[in-house]
């Protein structure tokens, strides 16, 4: 095992003691016969849930089952943007809860997740955008969340690569800036939670696909069948992102979800040129620069339901058109890789975190195009829901039942992609 605790002292000791310690940061045990809680899906949200179950609620007989490899789904495929400037009070509370946890996450996990509050700037290109962004700003400030209006000149001062030249089809008329927003290192988030959860006794079992959900005579869950054998558990949490409909169908449930491919792409690495995160809902682009120097660019979803983990080239092209007009200095840059992830989108673009009609079965899904930013908060409130059997006040409005009673949380502007 790697060092039990990272610190300056550990770093110095390792620097002067023989070959580097490259051992695994978490255990890879064989699945046990029974656990108190089984989490399906070892992405950021699932691992965070397991960590909080063990750390806060003392439930350490927890297994996290993953059909592929840890963090290999949307956790490893997103554009790592962190922000909390959502319009609706329920959403703002949920994402702000997560943002506060991001601020201390590296210390809490003793793992550097490289959270970088470099500012998230959302651009306005027409009168409607100005009205919408100012409405967000006022709603956020009433809720005590930082968000401020910038004139075009102020936006240019905050992000010098921005193009304010005349003749643009969609000129920049201003911007909303959340200074505490920024980015974090997506892989480190999965690894940090996996290491911390494993140290508390959580079993992380990879290459273990759930093939059935077992029920007892009363209809409550009693365990799962997997490609590595049967595992008994009285509580099951499904955190399977784009595959949630597939997993929930094993319990006979039809979900208010549709799965779409969402694309992202990165450029060749260059010297530091881009100081913040810039998003534009109207012309469909978001961009930041990673610490490796690549420009990380997010495109939109395809129009149709798919599990293909790829996406149409015309979608990415559309985004690059917008990037090149906003930032002409990137026109000669080469793109290094592009990829797709499968995102589960709800009708109201808000997540579902809570109970299901099946006793013992809990679900955390529907994060659509913007789940990464919520990882720590999502894990904490979902762990509370599983441990106590009732939702935390923060996730109570995000019930599955809202699609029956009609109390929707309509976040039409949940991400910088038109839904």
């Amino acid at each position: 095992m790697a060092p039990s605790r990272f610190s300056l002292l550990t770093l110095l000791r390792q620097a002067f003691s023989g070959p580097p310690d490259l051992s695994a940061h978490w255990r890879s045990p064989a699945p046990g016969p029974a656990y108190d809680v089984v989490i399906i899906g070892a992405g950021g949200h699932g691992l965070a849930t397991a960590f909080h179950l063990a750390a806060e609620h003392g439930i350490r007989r927890v297994a996290v089952l993953e059909k592929g490899w840890l963090g290999g789904g949307n956790t490893g495929r997103n554009t790592t943007i962190v922000r909390s400037n959502y319009l609706m009070a329920e959403s703002a509370a949920l994402y702000e809860h997560a943002l506060r946890l991001w601020e201390g996450l590296s210390q809490a996990l003793n793992y550097n997740v490289m959270y970088s509050p470099r500012g998230v700037m959302m651009l306005a290109h027409n009168v409607h955008d100005i009205a919408v962004l100012k409405r967000h700003i006022y709603a956020n400030r009433l809720a005590g969340i930082d968000n401020e209006w910038l004139s075009p000149a102020e936006a240019k001062a905050f992000c010098p690569p921005l193009n304010l030249a005349g003749g643009m089809r969609y000129p920049v008329l201003g911007a909303a800036l959340q200074r505490r927003g920024g980015t974090a290192r997506h892989d480190a988030v999965a690894w940090g939670y996996a290491r911390a959860a494993s140290a508390l006794g959580v079993d992380i079992i990879q290459n273990c696909e759930v093939t059935a959900i077992d029920r007892d005579r009363a209809g409550a869950v009693s365990g799962v069948e997997t490609t590595r054998g049967a595992i008994a558990a009285r509580k099951i949490g499904v955190v399977a992102a784009g595959h949630t409909s597939v997993v929930m169908a094993l319990a006979g449930l039809r979900m208010p979800l549709e799965s779409y491919p969402l694309q992202a792409l990165v450029s060749e690495p260059v010297k530091p040129v881009f100081p913040c995160v810039v998003m534009s809902n109207t012309i469909h682009a978001y961009i930041s620069q990673s610490d490796k120097g690549e420009l990380v660019i997010g495109a939109g979803t395809d129009a149709y339901v798919s599990y293909s983990q790829t996406g149409g080239l015309h979608i990415a092209t559309h985004t690059l058109d917008a990037i090149c007009e906003l930032f002409p200095m990137f026109r000669r840059l080469r793109m290094l890789r592009n990829w797709g992830g499968i995102v589960d989108v709800t009708p109201d673009r808000s997540p579902i975190i809570g109970l299901t009609p099946v006793p013992g079965l809990f679900v955390n899904c529907g994060w659509g195009t913007g789940g990464f930013k919520a990882t720590p908060g999502s894990g904490q409130v979902f762990a509370h829901t599983i441990a106590t059997g009732a939702p935390h006040p923060i996730n109570a409005p995000f019930s599955l039942d809202r699609f029956r009673c009609g109390r929707l949380i309509d976040e039409a502007a949940a991400a910088a992609v038109a839904h």
Partner: protein
């Protein structure tokens, strides 16, 4: 980009089409008689299968007509198209 076989115009690029979501979702004949669960299920629940999906398309920038299609959601391959109102064809994966 998908190459979509419009049953009226032949294969055309995806950007000529608009997507209409899952097919065969019949609106309840008497909505007032539905309870909340049945109405919510009609409005919001979707099959969202990993496999063969019955879905609606419209050749918006061509003939303008609606049609149904069976498509595999992993390969994105179109298996068959059929008329609006016709029952879902039986087809092996």
């Amino acid at each position: 980009m998908l190459l979509i076989p419009c049953p009226y115009c032949g294969p055309r690029p995806e950007i000529e089409f608009s997507y209409g979501g899952e097919a065969h979702l019949a609106r309840p004949r008497d909505p007032a008689a539905c309870d909340d669960a049945a109405w919510g299920d009609f409005l919001y629940a979707r099959t969202n299968p990993k496999g063969i999906h019955a879905e609606r398309w419209r050749h918006a920038h061509g003939c303008g007509r609606f049609f149904n299609a069976l498509r595999h959601t992993v390969s994105d391959q179109f298996l068959i198209t059929y008329r609006i109102g016709a029952p879902r064809p039986e087809i092996a994966a």
